[in-house]
Every structure is written in structure tokens, then in C-alpha cells.
């Protein structure tokens, strides 16, 4: 790469949130006419870095220079005025306004009689033509698919004479063709000398469009590389922070008796997919087995779980439970078939902090029984105490508000809630997020113990080592499709990462 001057340079960026250091000496350089991918795992500090750059957050220390001049944007508008525009994952436009208005609102061309609609249309057409989009700009934005809306958002971002364009996961709701069109547009922008910062979780896309890659890890700058000179496997190892080839990750091999494979699986999904969310996937989840879903963030783990549980309705494929075809069109139906879903976001979707541990544990069971078959407080207490003992929830008694428990114990109570419904299959989405290591190990052992009782478990975690530790089999996902399945005993972390990196194993 030729030695040129970066248009934008961020150096020594520190940002501390209460209790966490989000960015520690992070840096980033953007060059004109280049697409720069910002990579890193969840919590690596990508979004914080972008927020600092676009003025949403201020940094505690560090310098940002744009075209050699130090800048410090205090708001998105100020950043925009400086020439830094951002397009967010969800389209932040007004669907009820016309495409042309969306591109120029706030900067309408005015004539003597007010808004000059004619000039507005011409300008909007020209702005979209620069992105190779030719549509009727007088129609409301809602009449176009997300991809076109995304283009309108980019056109808007560029209409302020942006020098730096930040795309925060712009492709997450686009299909392949649409991504292709977006990339064409980006290439045109590159040719115009605009510096583009591209944030994505899709490895394929990173390599398809990027010239340069900056990797962040745990809020620190890991390195900046030319995309062409960084093999995928190395990129992944830099993101996860382990040298995969050398990492000898010993699996805790237990002498577990895997049930006979010829037995019909408890739940069999065939070609289950949802357009724009997950490509068709086959999964067999067996009683007494843990099926792990392995993959990087954004690979479609949670989406898969949501489809199976009926939260998102798949638009293709079928599901069988114990060989009989079922249509799990809603969580209610899924619960009736014996499924339980322990969701990813403990705080917002899981616990009710103000209620007692007992009430939290009983919640799902009572819901399943219906309001009319009310469990007496005494019955409830028996059940709650039973699970508190069985799962080792550390509390003085079952009447304490659950909000007072530690994260790990809250998670156990959640687990208890679903176990109390005596499900036949349990989906655990990130059951170990945000809790300490000892609690993680405990939770994983509990999962295994439950599994041995004949429960079918679908286990999701962003920590590959955890997936490896508990799973009997692992379905590996990448870019919203299943790329393979391996038996837990044969798998090791480097192997899975090699699979994800694609055929380099």
C-alpha cells in the first residue's frame, strides 16, 4: 500500500465507563479512498470507538485529527458538520417521508415560495445515481426494501460532503444481492476518495470489500493490517486473542454415555430458515444430549434458537418432535410441546428483579398451568426450595427479591424457572454471560447434570471453550448458515475456528 496521509487519525483513546474500561489506548487510522474494517469480538470496544468518533460519547483521553487538524465532536451533528457521517444498522430515516425528503430534510433547497420540490427531486436523483440507484424518489421510503432504504441513508450521509463515512453493521438485514449492490456503491465511493469505516461481523464481507483491517480486543488496539496480508485464521486468532494453531485446549472429557444415535431425535429441524435472518439449517437435538451452537457473534446462533422456539417465524423448513411433524408458530405452542427457552438477556427478558426468588422460579410453571390452577404459596415454596437446594442457589431464603442475588445465582434461578416446568428440551442462550468463572463452571455442570436426566439441550455461548466443554455435538455456524457439525469429543477450539475461517483446516 502506498504511503499516504491518513485523513483521520485517532490516537491513545481512553474511555472508561463506571466499572469498565471500554477503551484503553485504542487507535485507528482511516485513509482516503479505502475501506477500513473494524473487527473485534463482542465487547472489544468497536461501538465505543465509533461513538467517540461521532460525538455520541466523549473520550477521557486521546486525540482525534481530521486532515491534520485536531477535532473533538460533541454531537452527531457536529461530527457531520466536520465531514464524518454515520449510517447505522437500523435505518434511521422517516419511512413516511419521500425518499427525496429523507435524503435532504434539514437542508431543503428553498425557492421564494418555500421548499423547491423540483430541485429537491433532481438533487435526490443525482445523489442516488452516484450510488447506482435509480428509483422514483417521490414515493415514500416505506415503499422500498431495506436495502434501498440503506442506500438512501448513505446518500443522506454523503450529501453533507462527508469525507469519512462510517457504516455500522449495514449488511445485517440485507440479503446477498443487496449486499452486492451495497458493495458496488462503496466501491464507487472509494473511487471518489472517501474514507469508509466498515463494521461487520461477517468475515466474508470483510474480505470482500476491505483494504485495511484494524482489530480491537478487550478495548485495546491489537493491530492494523492490510486485508490482503492477513489470512482469515490469523484474523480470528487476533480477535479471540489466542494463537489458535498452538493453543492446545484440553477438553474436559467425561465418561459420558452418549445415547444411541439411531434413536429418533427429540427435535429435528429440517431446512429451517428465515429470509434476511438465517439460511436454512438442519439440526437434530436428542434427549440426553447437549447440542452446542458454535460460531462468532452474528453468525446466527440466537436467530436459530428464536426460530426453533417460535419467537421468529421461519419462512421455510419444517420441525419434527419425536418424529411427528409440528408447527412451532409461537412460543406458547413451543412451551406446550415441552420446550423451554432461557434467553440471552437476563436483565430485560429474564428475571423480574422486584419479585422474590420463589415468584421468579414459579413464573413459567404458573403460566403453563394457567391462572385457574393456582399453586398455593406453600406448594410454590416447596418447589422453589427444592430447586434452590438442587442448583445450589446461594440465598438465605426463597422470599428474597431476586435482584439482590449475584448474577450467577440469578442465572441459576432462571434455570430453575424453566426446569420447574419440567421441559423435555431446554434452549440456553448465553446462560453464562456476565457471571464469574466459578459460577460459569457451576452452571455448566448443572446443565450437564440435567442433560443426564434425559433432557435435550441446545446450548449457545459466545465462549467457544464453554460450548466445547458441555456439548456432546457442536453445530458450527458462520455468516448465518451451518457450515458443519462435529462430535464434541473430536472437537477442539483451533479446529472449530479453522472451520469458521473456511476450509483452511
Amino acid at each position: 500500500m502506498a504511503e499516504q496521509q491518513p485523513i483521520l487519525q485517532m490516537q491513545g483513546i481512553h474511555k472508561r465507563f463506571p466499572g469498565v474500561v471500554a477503551l484503553n489506548d485504542a487507535q485507528l487510522r482511516l485513509f482516503p479512498g479505502e475501506v477500513h474494517a473494524l473487527m473485534g469480538q463482542n465487547g472489544a470496544g468497536k461501538s465505543t470507538l465509533i461513538k467517540v468518533l461521532t460525538g455520541v460519547e466523549s473520550c477521557d483521553a486521546g486525540s482525534i485529527t481530521l486532515a491534520g487538524k485536531p477535532i473533538r465532536a460533541e454531537s452527531v451533528l457536529e461530527a457531520q458538520a466536520l465531514g464524518i457521517s454515520t449510517v447505522y444498522q437500523e435505518v434511521n430515516l422517516c419511512l413516511n417521508l419521500s425518499v427525496a425528503e429523507n435524503i435532504f430534510i434539514g437542508r431543503f433547497p428553498m425557492s421564494r415560495f418555500g421548499i423547491d420540490w423540483k430541485t429537491l427531486q433532481t438533487k435526490a436523483m443525482a445523489a442516488l445515481a452516484a450510488l447506482n440507484v435509480d428509483i422514483d424518489v417521490t414515493l415514500p421510503l416505506s415503499s422500498y426494501p431495506v436495502a434501498i432504504q440503506q442506500m438512501a441513508a448513505i446518500a443522506r450521509a454523503l450529501s453533507t460532503d462527508a469525507q469519512v463515512l462510517i457504516l455500522d453493521e449495514p449488511t445485517s438485514s440485507l440479503d446477498e444481492d443487496e449486499v452486492g449492490r451495497l458493495f458496488d456503491a462503496l466501491r464507487r465511493l472509494k473511487a471518489r476518495g472517501i474514507a469508509i469505516l466498515f463494521v461487520t461481523h461477517f468475515l466474508d464481507q470483510t474480505y470482500a470489500i476491505s483494504d485495511r483491517i484494524t482489530v480491537l480486543r478487550n478495548g485495546e488496539f491489537e493491530g492494523e493490517y492490510a486485508a490482503a496480508e492477513l489470512p482469515r485464521i490469523q484474523l480470528i486468532s487476533k480477535m479471540v486473542g489466542r494463537d489458535i494453531d498452538e493453543a492446545a485446549f484440553a477438553r474436559q472429557a467425561g465418561a459420558e454415555i452418549a445415547p444411541a444415535e439411531d434413536e429418533a431425535p427429540f427435535l429435528a429441524a429440517r431446512g429451517l430458515g428465515k429470509l434476511g435472518s438465517m439460511r436454512p439449517i438442519d439440526l437434530d437435538i436428542r434427549a440426553g444430549q447437549v447440542l452446542g451452537l458454535g460460531g462468532l457473534l452474528g453468525s446466527g446462533r440466537t436467530e436459530t434458537a428464536r426460530m426453533i422456539f417460535g419467537i421468529d417465524r421461519p419462512d421455510s423448513g419444517s420441525t419434527q418432535i419425536k418424529g411427528a411433524s409440528v408447527n412451532l408458530h409461537s412460543p406458547r405452542k413451543a412451551i406446550r410441546e415441552g420446550l423451554a427457552f432461557c434467553s440471552e438477556d437476563r436483565k430485560t427478558e429474564g428475571i423480574v428483579a422486584e419479585l422474590s426468588i420463589r415468584e421468579n422460579i414459579i413464573l413459567a410453571l404458573q403460566a403453563r398451568r394457567g391462572v385457574f390452577r393456582f399453586l398455593s404459596v406453600r406448594q410454590q415454596r416447596v418447589i422453589a426450595d427444592e430447586y434452590i437446594k438442587q442448583l445450589g442457589i446461594k440465598t438465605s431464603d426463597s422470599e428474597k427479591p431476586i435482584g439482590q442475588l449475584s448474577g450467577g445465582n440469578q442465572q441459576k434461578a432462571l434455570l430453575a424457572r424453566w426446569l420447574a416446568t419440567e421441559p423435555k428440551m431446554l434452549i440456553l442462550d448465553e446462560p453464562t454471560r456476565g457471571i464469574d468463572v466459578a459460577a460459569k463452571l457451576e452452571i455448566m455442570d448443572l446443565v450437564k447434570a440435567q442433560c443426564r436426566k434425559g433432557l435435550a439441550i441446545l446450548f449457545i455461548s459466545s465462549e467457544m471453550s464453554e460450548v466445547l466443554r458441555v456439548s456432546d455435538r457442536i453445530a458450527v455456524l458462520r455468516d448465518r448458515q451451518k457450515i458443519g457439525e462435529i462430535a464434541g469429543n473430536d472437537a477442539d477450539e483451533p479446529g472449530i475456528f479453522r472451520m469458521i475461517a473456511g476450509g483452511e483446516a
Binding site: 413516511n96 430534510i105 420540490w117 417521490t138 415514500p140 426494501p145 443522506r156
Partner: protein, 325 residues
């Protein structure tokens, strides 16, 4: 109108409303001999001019995703302030009119600030304003005040001739001018488009750097202004001020806007549609008046059904749109 084309797929409710109006008017023309005269048509505007003025303000509020329940009370307060000042204190109309308009704007400003700055619900804030303004009426007088001032009576009786046998009142003219200004504001000013943007998606409007706070407050000020102006027209029409004037008027204004194709969730609709909405309410009233045997409460029943119908229509349109995607 050129601007119409911009919101093409959403014009259907307006088209339906207009068709319904023509149908109702046609029905009247066929049923009653005297119905099909220009004067009957113009009377629709004369008799509903104040509703039109208030409904224009209401349309902006609804377009921005809000609601203003205080309009009827502000109308009543305006009639009361006008009547009291002209009858008891012999103020000039040139002093009263600006004062009343300022009071209306002040009410709107209060609503807007409470809603925007203190993040309160428009429903509850303007409900408060509704009680406040209605109560203030009785502070002035608990009885109706008739206006005998010659300027007011002259203005009330003034008719601008429109051809041979047709004439329009001053309030009719003011209503039409208000409507035209409303259409202009909605479609040809930054403020108007910002109102639509806020109604469409307030968060996006903020992120697009639009003056959301200012616009939202101004929308309520505009509604307060329109209510006060409507109050002045009511005073001219009735030649009295009374705390019981315009009871339930806010609901008529909301109904006119909704029947005219404005979506209660905000962001979709036309000021011009509100005219058709008002005219439909008016034509139903005229039909019932021409019939002579029906009680005026049949108007309410008809409006009730129409509202159901239009909300249903809008919902179905939304759904068919979603289905297509």
C-alpha cells in the same frame, strides 16, 4: 396539487373521503330540490368555518404524533374573553383580537413546553389545559354574554358576494385562508416537513438533526392559535360568549382530521384532507336538517359510524402494505 403526488400510496383514504362527500352531496341533491345550489355548498363552509380552523391546527398536532384535547375549551375561553371585553369594557376589536390570539398561543406554548421539556403525555397535558380553559370561562362569567357592539354585529352580518345568489361570510373567508396557509405550511416549509418527520419517527428526526423540540412546541402553539382564531369565528357566528360553547368540539376536530385521512399515530395525512373531513361532517348535518324529521343527534351516530369505517380502512391499508413486503 403537486405535493399530493409525494405521498401517493397514502392518498387513498383522502380519495375515499372525497368520493364519500360527493356521494353524500349527490344524495342530498337528488333527495331535496333546494340542496343543489351553490349557497348550500358555501353554507357548509360558513357553518363549519370555526371547526375547519380548529381542525387545521389539530391536524398539525396529530401529524406530529400528538393530540390536543384543549381546543374546545380554548374556543370557549376565546368567546368569553372577547364577549366580556367588548360588552363590559368596550374594548376595540383591534385590541381584543390580538389579545385573544396571544392567549391561545400561550395555552399552546404551555402545553408544548410541558410535553416536550418535561416529557409528559400530550393526552394528559392537554386534558389539563381543557379543564383549565373551561374553568377560566366561568371565572369571567357563569352566564352567556351577548354581544351587541355594532362593529361585531356588522362583521357578523357581512357577506362577500360570490356571484349572483351566493355569498360567503367573513368567518368563511378566514377559514378558507387558514386552510390555504395550513396547506402551504405543511407542504412548502421546513417546519411542515419536520412535523411530518417527527410524526413518522421522532428518534430518526432527532438523528437527522432536525429541530425536534422547537417544532413540537410550535405545533401546540399553532393549535392554540387556531383554537383562539376559531373562538373568534364562533363569537362572530353566535354573537355571544359562553362557557358552554364548543363542548366536545375537540372530538369533532379530531374526527374531521381522521375522516380526512390523517393517521392518529402521526406522520401521515393532509391538511387538505381535513377540509373534506369537515365538509363531510357538515353535509351530514345539512342532510339531517333538510330531512327535518330526524333529531340532530343522528349526526353523531353517522359520525360515529364514519369514524369506525375510516379507522378500519386505514388499518386495512396498513396491513395490505405490510403484506406486500
Amino acid at each position: 396539487m403537486k405535493a399530493m403526488r409525494y405521498i401517493n400510496p397514502r392518498t387513498l383514504p383522502l380519495v375515499v373521503t372525497t368520493a364519500l362527500f360527493i356521494l353524500l352531496f349527490g344524495f342530498g341533491a337528488v333527495s331535496y330540490d333546494a340542496f343543489l345550489s351553490p349557497q348550500v355548498f358555501v353554507n357548509l363552509i360558513i357553518d363549519n368555518g370555526f371547526l375547519l380552523v380548529v381542525a387545521v391546527g389539530m391536524t398539525f398536532v396529530i401529524l406530529a404524533g400528538g393530540i390536543d384535547l384543549s381546543v374546545g375549551s380554548v374556543v370557549a375561553l376565546s368567546t368569553m374573553v372577547t364577549a366580556a371585553l367588548v360588552q363590559h369594557h368596550h374594548w376595540s376589536i383591534w385590541a381584543i383580537t390580538p389579545l385573544v390570539l396571544i392567549i391561545g398561543c400561550a395555552f399552546g406554548l404551555l402545553h408544548g413546553v410541558l410535553i416536550q421539556v418535561f416529557r409528559m403525555q400530550p393526552f394528559i397535558v392537554t386534558l389539563g389545559g381543557m379543564f383549565l380553559a373551561r374553568g377560566l370561562c366561568y371565572l369571567i362569567s357563569i352566564d352567556s354574554i351577548s354581544i351587541t357592539d355594532p362593529t361585531y354585529t356588522a362583521l357578523s352580518e357581512y357577506r362577500l358576494p360570490l356571484g349572483a345568489e351566493t355569498a360567503i361570510s367573513l368567518s368563511g373567508v378566514i377559514a378558507i385562508v387558514t386552510l390555504l396557509v395550513g396547506v402551504y405550511i405543511a407542504h412548502y416549509t421546513r417546519f411542515g416537513r419536520t412535523v411530518y418527520a417527527i410524526g413518522g419517527n421522532e428518534r430518526s428526526a432527532l438523528l437527522m438533526g432536525l429541530p425536534v423540540a422547537r417544532t413540537k412546541i410550535l405545533v401546540y402553539v399553532l393549535s392554540g392559535f387556531c383554537s383562539a382564531l376559531g373562538g373568534i369565528l364562533v363569537t362572530l357566528y353566535m354573537l355571544s360568549g359562553y362557557g358552554l360553547h364548543a363542548i366536545g368540539f375537540e372530538m369533532d376536530a379530531i374526527a374531521a382530521a381522521v375522516i380526512g385521512g390523517t393517521l392518529l399515530t402521526g406522520g401521515v395525512g393532509f391538511v387538505a384532507g381535513t377540509l373534506v373531513g369537515v365538509m363531510i361532517l357538515g353535509v351530514i348535518q345539512s342532510l339531517i336538517a333538510f330531512d327535518g324529521s330526524l333529531s340532530s343527534w343522528w349526526t353523531r351516530i353517522a359520525i360515529g359510524f364514519l369514524l369506525f369505517l375510516f379507522c378500519l380502512l386505514q388499518r386495512l391499508l396498513e396491513r395490505s402494505k405490510l403484506g406486500k413486503k
